[in-house]
């Protein structure tokens, strides 16, 4: 059984290798190969899952040592896997949802000349993510961590010829790098403290070291988590990441990348438990991001950006929960899984909508689509209900638990966090309803504006071009949008709808399933530990509060977007709205605080290098040259001046002799 664990990672990795190195001859079948390998890793996962269920709680963890990676005196890094319940949860989520997204992409990308490479990247993404969650030491996790960063870079920038895409990809990678720096420092701290960085000894030894050290490690880990999970202050890349093809967004947001941070924190629970200050910071970050993302989500008209905002805030929920310690870990993961389902569903739905509206993303140009794409409508709707936490659906169970846990933290913090969580729930309900209404209800707004308005509108996929076509003129003409004068909404092909349906099921039932005599809690308890805390409010009270706020949110949204028609051109909006449209000025801040100074610094250094460092050397050289030039003048070739010097020299000699005799 242990040996299978390696295969989990190996399968998609193999796929990536084959697809990327395979060359054009794989163009025809490549995507199916990729999907198959993703599915294969899912199947293996299921097998292992079954096997794991066979054993009881404590003995479920599997270990497999593959080979010794970096053996240096005292520093032993192995490629070794550890499959416990936590990892298993992720494996299933990643490979499952991942496979669905592969399937979906088959349809979504079929017009794309570089579809083979796209699937290669997708496989790479899965492989890296699986490596991340299966590693049994932090260094290997780091490898997966960066691998995810790379894959996201490749996928976000998949349409490289679009400067915006390339920039977004670079941004994502670099912001993540900042997080990675945190992770590597954390690993170094572990190494110097414990002499190792394998999970088990570190987490076991966490109790024995000082709280200060634990806090340091915890904060560094948090920095890493912020990078990957797009938490404030490293959230800025997430929005731009929408430049990637929609399946990528779905993959990044639902199943893989952004969840890594939550995984890291939960995995390192022992460290955080020992460092309350670190935990507090985690919860604060979570809470802030929660609101931040929600507000951004309210303002965006781009459907994907709106969903991105929601992702941000949902991850905020998870981080918040993870920060609560043993009370929250389980629910963080649980919300992560349910969120995996419905967010994937939502994104795929959004993608399907765009697919139908030939890549229009502006919701203000949607409207009344429910008649044209029923399947999308239903699945998207279910996802919507799930995410706002409509009682009975997945989101409800997980989010409700988190809010409870937040209150259960106790003390003022408890109240504040709980309040924030509730507020977040309300806002979530608001903006998701807004998305829903603007997209599927109301009268169609895409007919109203003259043809070409849609065509001209910011195209998402200008790259869709016949394989044969000469690449050079691809960015001058965009066949996909250029051709279509007018949108003709239609339902997407099977390969796209099926995954959506599956995910919809997930988003409806998963939560309930998990909460059934709290099976999920028991499932994870051996790994993360769990305690119920003592909530100042009864569960019922919290639940009802949640329901109330979400209804208010929905009502507000309905009042604004349901009753009166939605203007096609966005109104100027309040200051907050405008700020939120610009992601609450995060980029402007970064630009002013980091980019500009950085540019000046580098330019200045170039000058210094040329003038000061190099100049010092050249200056010395010049000085010598000048000096010798002067000396040269003395050798004027006139006998008499030589004679003078001789004569003077004699005089000096005599003077010297006299002095000597005088002394």
């Amino acid at each position: 059984m242990e040996n299978l664990i390696g295969l989990l990672v190996a399968a998609p990795l193999l796929g990536a290798a084959v697809l990327l190195c395979g060359g054009k001859r794989l163009d025809r079948a490549g995507h199916w190969l990729g999907t198959a390998l993703a599915a294969a890793s899912f199947v293996i996962g299921v097998v292992l899952f079954a096997d794991m269920l066979g054993r009881d709680g404590e003995e479920r963890a599997l270990h497999s040592h593959v080979f010794s990676w970096i053996p240096v005196e005292g520093f032993q890094a192995d490629v070794a896997f550890q499959l416990d319940q936590l990892s298993m949860t992720f494996v299933l989520l990643i490979s499952g949802v991942g496979t669905l997204i592969h399937l979906y992409s088959v349809g979504y990308m079929e017009h794309d000349a570089r579809r083979r490479r796209f699937f290669g990247y997708l496989n790479l993404f899965l492989a890296a993510m699986l490596l991340l969650v299966l590693a049994d030491n932090y260094l290997l996790l780091y490898a997966g961590w960066e691998g995810v960063g790379l894959a996201s870079y490749l996928l976000i920038g998949f349409w490289q010829h679009k400067p915006s895409a390339a920039t977004a990809a670079k941004k994502a990678f670099i912001v993540n790098r900042v997080g990675d720096m945190g992770l590597s420092i954390a690993i170094m701290l572990m190494f110097t403290t414990f002499g190792t960085f394998a999970f088990e000894p570190v987490l076991a030894g966490a109790g024995e070291t000082s709280e200060g050290m634990l806090t340091a490690i915890g904060l560094m880990l948090l920095l890493a988590a912020c990078g990957k999970s797009a938490q404030v202050p490293l959230q800025s890349w997430l929005g731009d990441a929408m430049e990637g093809p929609t399946p990528v967004s779905a993959l990044i947001h639902a199943a893989t990348m952004v969840t890594a941070g939550v995984y890291l924190i939960t995995r390192s629970g022992a460290v955080f438990n020992g460092a309350p200050d670190a935990q507090l910071v985690v919860t604060i970050v979570g809470a802030v991001t929660l609101i931040f993302g929600a507000i951004v989500g309210c303002a965006k008209d781009d459907i994907k950006k709106a969903l991105a905002g929601s992702t941000m805030s949902q991850i905020g929920y998870m981080v918040l929960a993870a920060g609560l310690g043993p009370i929250g870990y389980v629910f963080a993961i649980m919300h992560l899984v349910t969120h995996g389902f419905f967010k994937a569903g939502l994104f795929l739905g959004a993608g399907s909508v765009m697919h139908g509206m030939n890549d229009e993303v502006d919701m203000r140009k949607y409207g009344g689509l429910r008649k044209y794409m029923p399947v999308t409508f239903v699945t998207f709707g279910l996802g919507y209900l799930a995410i706002i936490g409509f009682p009975g659906l997945s989101g409800f169970w997980s989010k409700d638990k988190i809010i409870e846990a937040a209150f259960a933290k106790g003390g003022t913090e408890g109240w504040i966090l709980g309040g924030v969580a509730l507020l977040g729930a309300a806002i979530t309900a608001y903006y998701m309803t807004r998305v829903m209404l603007m997209t599927f209800f109301g009268e169609p707004r895409w007919k109203r504006d003259a043809s070409g308005a849609v065509a001209g509108a910011s195209p998402q996929r200008p790259d869709v071009e016949p394989v044969a076509e000469n690449a050079a003129d691809a960015d001058t003409a965009h066949p996909a949008t250029g051709a279509a004068a007018e949108p003709h909404p239609h339902e997407s092909p099977k390969s796209m709808t099926i995954p959506m349906i599956v995910l919809a099921f997930g988003s409806v039932f998963a939560g309930g399933l998990f909460s059934l005599n709290s099976s999920f809690v028991h499932w994870l308890e051996p790994v993360t530990g769990h305690d119920h805390g003592h909530s100042p409010l009864s569960a019922a009270a919290v639940t009802s509060a949640t329901v109330v706020v979400l209804l208010t949110g929905v009502a507000l949204a309905w009042a604004q977007y349901g009753r009166r028609p939605v203007p096609v051109l966005a109104p100027r909006g309040s200051l907050l709205t405008r700020a939120a449209r610009r992601d609450l000025l995060q980029d402007d801040f970064n630009h002013v605080a980091l980019v500009k100074p950085g540019e000046y610094l580098t330019r200045g250094l170039v000058y210094v290098d040329a003038k000061a460092v190099d100049g010092a050397v050249n200056g010395t050289a010049a000085a010598f040259g000048g000096l010798s030039g002067r000396m040269r003048k003395v050798q004027n070739g006139f006998v008499r001046s030589y004679a003078v010097s001789m004569f003077g020299g004699t005089a000096v000699l005599i003077a010297a002799t006299l002095l000597m005799r005088a002394v």
């Binding site: 008499r640 001046s641 003078v644 004569f647 003077g648 005089a651 005599i654 003077a655 006299l658």
Partner: protein
Amino acid sequence: MSGLSLTHTLAQQAYSTSTGEAVQFWILGSVAVIGALCTILMRRAVHSALCLAGTMIILAVFYLANGAYFLGVVQIVVYTGAIMMLFLFVVMLVGVTAADSLKETLKGQRWLAALCGLGFGVLLIAGIGNASLSTFTGLGEANAGGNVEGLAGLIFTKYVFAFEITGALLITAAVGAMVLTHRERTERMPSQREQAEARVRSGKQLPPLPAPGVYARHNAVDIPGLLPDGTPSELTVNKTLRARGQIRDVSGEALADLAALEQRAEERLERDQDTEDRAAHDRDTEEAAK
């Protein structure tokens, strides 16, 4: 007794010199210095040479006074006689009149020279001054057997090798001088025709230069011939004379002579005139008488 007086006189001679010598030293010494100064300050090499010769003669006298009789003579014969003549010879060869300006061309050279010279002199004199030279033994017994013999004794015994070597040196020098000054004609001498062509090419004066002197009234080489208008022509005089400015320009007097000549011719013609009148008048009166 007498021996004692002898030693006494020797000591006397040893510690100081006779007053006569002192007088001679002070007079000739100052002259020598002046000569030296003139040597370096005269603008014409000839004058320098003459001054130097003078200084050397004075030095010869000093040698004699110092009991170096042989050297004194040699000084006069060899130095003043031979070497200085050699100098003069070369000066003539180079051109006696080439008076070089004493204007300094090298920047600061003169000041440096003055400074060095001054410092050097001062140091030297200071050195001699604080050297303990108060006591000295005269050449009394050294020259006892005669100065020349003494020298000869030394030269042919103690310094014989140096002597031989100097001999060799002299020979070498003589040969060297010849080699240096001897000019080997490496190329064929240009024929007359070639010279003529060269002259034409260089646009020089083709016919021989006009002879000096005027109408055979003068035959001195230092008198320029006159052009038809009576002005003197530089070409006719040797350029050395020209350089020396030793040209006697006689054009002026030639013209004066001409004027005087015409003057006299004038007078002569007038006188002939009135004699004829008188003659005519006489003839008339004779005819009237008849």
